[in-house]
Symmetry: C2
Subunit: 342 residues, 2 copies
């Protein structure tokens, strides 16, 4: 918890500092309808990254190959923040929490004078930082707990449908990476079962992952708070408690994979050191495996960051990827477009 909260805190700071800028990307070359029909990865430039994906899929799906993997075992796991959608200028779930504090403030007049809520309402990120981890836990408790799972689902569904990204003014569901959407489709077309394995909240993601990524709720693994079964007015409900259940990050990712999926992935996709253990766990399987890091190299179309970043720091992971020959996607050079609307 500690570390995750620290990450959130840094993320919040980055919001205020406003270090990130989004440039306007040139429209990618329009490919003919015929090209799109025959090319399952139209937003991927020719190159080593794309080739490694296509080669791996060919190997594990060819019944004549020594590396053939039966369909049931073609498990592919994807990190979400920074791998399937952007994570700048802050994890989108933190922006959700901040929006929720603002939306709930009229019911909580005391927040005008009470930290850490006052800091959020005043947009005073220095004061929020001063409230520390305890303050952030209070914000999570106030915005993510104390309601039923159905109520939280409604809140998350409404937010994702209406909220806009602070720098692009686009809905968050348009901040997804078009090449990764194509990759998800391509893997599923080749008999893979695709899962999200994210440090983000499992119930924050589930309301929209099926529509946006084609990944149903039962294939979403994430961090969670505890829930409790209760009968309220004769109706069974699950109450969300202000208590951490599981942090699906770093060492937690293989644990979450084992708990929810129960078999080892043969392919794993991430963008940060928080994904390293998932990639190590995947690479340690007996059969063929594929590990890929998305490297944020594109300051024009998205953001450029790795070792020095508090959000999505990629340091040890990049080193290990290079040592072990894992695929590293250079966003700037490997992707013809970043977002669906580029």
């Amino acid at each position: 918890m500690k570390h995750t909260v620290s990450l959130l805190l840094f993320a919040a700071l980055v919001v205020t500092l406003g270090v990130a800028h989004i440039g306007c990307a040139p429209q990618s070359d329009v490919q003919s309808a015929l090209d799109v029909a025959v090319d399952p990865l139209p937003s991927w430039n020719e190159g080593a990254a794309r080739q490694s994906i296509v080669d791996f899929v060919a190997r594990v799906t060819d019944p004549a190959s020594d590396d053939f993997v039966p369909e049931a075992e073609r498990i592919a796991t994807f990190d979400n923040d920074g791998t399937l959608w952007s994570e700048q200028p802050a994890y989108f779930q933190l922006l959700f929490a901040i929006d929720r504090v603002k939306a709930l403030a009229p019911e909580h007049p005391e927040w005008a004078k009470k930290q850490p809520f006052k800091a959020v309402l005043d947009g005073d990120m220095e004061a929020l930082a001063a409230a520390g981890e305890h303050g952030l836990i209070e914000i999570v408790a106030a915005t993510h707990a104390g309601m039923t799972t159905a109520e939280f689902e409604a809140v998350a569904t409404d937010w994702i449908a209406t909220a806009k990204h602070p720098t692009t003014d686009r809905p968050y569901t348009e901040m997804v990476y078009q090449p990764m959407i194509e990759l998800l489709d391509y893997l599923r077309a080749n008999g893979f079962k695709t899962f999200i394995v994210s440090g983000g909240g499992i119930e924050f993601m589930r309301p929209w992952t099926e529509e946006v990524y084609g990944i149903p709720p039962e294939q979403v693994v994430g961090s969670s708070i505890k829930t409790k079964f209760e009968i309220q007015d004769g109706q069974p409900v699950l109450m969300r408690l202000p208590e951490i259940d599981f942090i699906d990050d770093k060492d937690g990712k293989p644990v979450g994979i084992n708990s929810h999926i129960g078999r080892r992935p043969i392919a794993a996709f991430g963008n940060s050191d928080g994904d390293l253990q998932m990639l190590q766990w995947t690479a340690a399987g007996d059969g063929p495996s594929f590990c890929l890091y998305v490297h944020h190299t594109d300051a024009e179309r998205e953001w450029a960051y790795d070792r020095g970043s508090h959000i999505g720091r990629l340091d040890k992971g990049l080193e290990e990827a290079r040592e072990r020959g894992w695929t590293v996607v250079d966003m700037k050079n490997d992707w013809t477009v970043v977002y669906p609307w580029n």
Copy 2:
């Protein structure tokens, strides 16, 4: 945990008392190949239980019906012990634990004098009972923890392939209910996704549920102990710790369903009060729902028990099923056969 351990303890006692007997079932009428081809539920007698299943499936799969449910939402959850396979004379996982103590005893000479292991080795269930919950936790720790997930999987796989049921001398995988196997197939043929939601250990079940029930590991929900990611000799492993993570029983079943599946089932199948909350949760959905209790009424072909039983007690659940018009399967009269080999 307390209650679960008590159940296990009582189960262990029942083993010694040897109260259960299995009679020899008459061979069911052989149906013609044609009948089998057109009847997806050949081991179900005509009657209210069978009819309720067929009617529900017809309603939710007919696009013209007001009760039509899209395929993605056709989630069906099944308890395991007493619902898909027998649970007498003790939960089979307890028999596994007892077998493991015996198998590990040569490496633990101290167990010959140390409770609760001495009790297990001597077959002295009174002494085991005297060791209480603490004793049973020691047995679980010694047999289910202190090894990697891969090692435990190998142990469970070996046991299920070789161990025999104490009264029928059949492999445990033949102690499954043929009518329920047909029901699983029938639901899947109609676009349902079938899940196990069991108080049993998630990693005890996963090695064999795909072969026996057609349910893959990622669709198995169960009780769990904690695991920890470690690098051992350069290889990542998940160590199984002697610490309870989650008990998937009673109030825990809706929690486990929410955590692993993330949507509410439209059909749920159980046999005991431990399944009641799962059935309540299922029945509370907005759309059509189907709840079914398997009632153990067949002392000849299986076992007959409900209110008075320590294993699989069915008391409040039976009452609520009758009040609410849920389907109650009378094993003796509704099933032409119980086991595949009857």
